[in-house]
């Protein structure tokens, strides 16, 4: 008898839980609207400057952009991601001169941004952005690596409570920098190549 009662009670609580979950889902579904848009450009062409050397690299590859918007009725959250994977060659050297047979590079960049926005726009607010850039030359070419993160939060009073920015820059095998030739070759982290002739 006791067992049966427990069973009935258990079923009831399961039913109640399901009903509550269903109600919560329905309520959330009524308010939350998510939209994801993804575009792929397979013939993306652009130019980029290797900040370690000052060389201009023309590249062709794929750019994938994903944007998602999530609106729950009182807060809208945006996420944007841009990925570029490409191959390129140096077309303009560090002295600003055109190059016919330039060094080859692999180009990889990712930019990711997250933004909160309230409806209507008020605080609190969160925003972050992360950037990862890689320019990798074949063999002992000049590599450029740059990572950047910024995150900020504003509280309900409109005060900036979190501001955090970090960046990491690496130049590898840098033979030329801003039009000046470095005397040191093929050494990782050669970063002081300003010479007086």
């Amino acid at each position: 008898m006791l067992k049966t009662h427990r069973h009935t009670h258990g079923r009831r609580s399961v039913l109640v839980t399901f009903a509550l979950l269903a109600a919560a889902l329905l309520l959330t579904a009524g308010r939350a609207q998510a939209q994801v848009v993804r575009t792929v450009d397979k013939t993306f062409t652009d130019t980029l400057i290797n900040q370690c050397t000052g060389e201009t690299i023309a590249f062709t590859g794929t750019m994938t952009t994903t944007s998602s918007t999530h609106d729950n009725g009182w807060r809208t959250n945006f996420r944007f991601t841009t990925d570029v994977k490409a191959k390129g060659v140096v077309t303009i050297d560090a002295f600003g001169q055109p190059v016919t047979y330039g060094a080859s590079y692999k180009v990889q960049t990712r930019v990711q941004s997250v933004n909160d926005q309230l409806d209507p726009v008020t605080y609190p607010f969160t925003q972050s952005q992360a950037v990862d850039m890689k320019l990798v030359g074949t063999g002992s070419e000049n590599n450029f690596f740059f990572r950047f993160n910024v995150r900020l939060q504003i509280n309900a009073n409109g005060d900036l409570t979190v501001f955090k920015e970090t960046a990491d820059l690496r130049c590898e095998n840098t033979l030329i920098f801003n039009g000046t030739i470095s005397p040191i070759l093929k050494t990782p982290y050669i970063i002081q190549p300003v010479l007086d002739y």
């Binding site: 809208t76 409806d119 130049c171």
Partner: protein
């Protein structure tokens, strides 16, 4: 009595001078090879106002060991400025906009960063509605040091990017 008064006066003058002569370091940085790495994404609110978020401008700093500057920008559209050139204007949204300068120091990088508190942006629209930044001007920037609770104002700065020449400009930082 007279001697004491002179000494007191001298001390007072020294203290006053010391207070007024607090050193301020100024750094003028030449920005070169700037480009919009990630265009700004538009969001239009119910009132029809378009706000652009998450623009990312990246370039080099001339005259130093390899250095990189970044501008992370959000701005509110103020309308078409040049119909022929397709140039639009916008006001900087604070504190959603920030800057950084990263320089290599030995095997490590050193970053100076802060918020762009006010300013003006010009931009050009891409076919997908996103915006490429042409210029950014600001006379009101704050340099921050430290993180979260230990964060403090380390100075202020001004920025003039892309107005005289595309992708180039000046960032002036005044350290307290």
């Amino acid at each position: 009595m007279m001697k004491k008064a002179v000494i007191a006066l001298s001390l007072l003058m020294i203290l006053a001078t010391a207070g007024g002569a607090s050193a301020q370091t100024v750094r003028n940085l030449s920005l070169v090879n700037g480009d919009t790495i990630a265009p700004a994404r538009p969001v239009t609110d119910a009132a029809g106002t378009t706000t652009y978020y998450s623009a990312f401008v990246n370039g080099g700093v001339a005259g130093t060991t390899p250095g990189v500057f970044t501008l992370s920008l959000a701005f509110r559209d103020t309308g078409l400025l040049d119909p022929l050139g397709g140039v639009y204007g916008g006001t900087i949204l604070a504190p959603n906009s920030s800057f950084s300068v990263t320089e290599t120091s030995g095997r490590k990088s050193q970053t100076t960063s802060g918020t762009i508190d006010a300013g003006f942006v010009t931009y050009r629209l891409n076919p997908d509605g996103s915006a490429d930044v042409i210029s950014v001007t600001s006379g009101s920037m704050t340099i921050w040091q430290g993180k979260n609770k230990s964060r403090r104002v380390a100075g202020n700065g001004t920025l003039d990017y892309g107005t005289a020449a595309p992708g180039a400009g000046t960032l002036t930082l005044y350290f307290q």
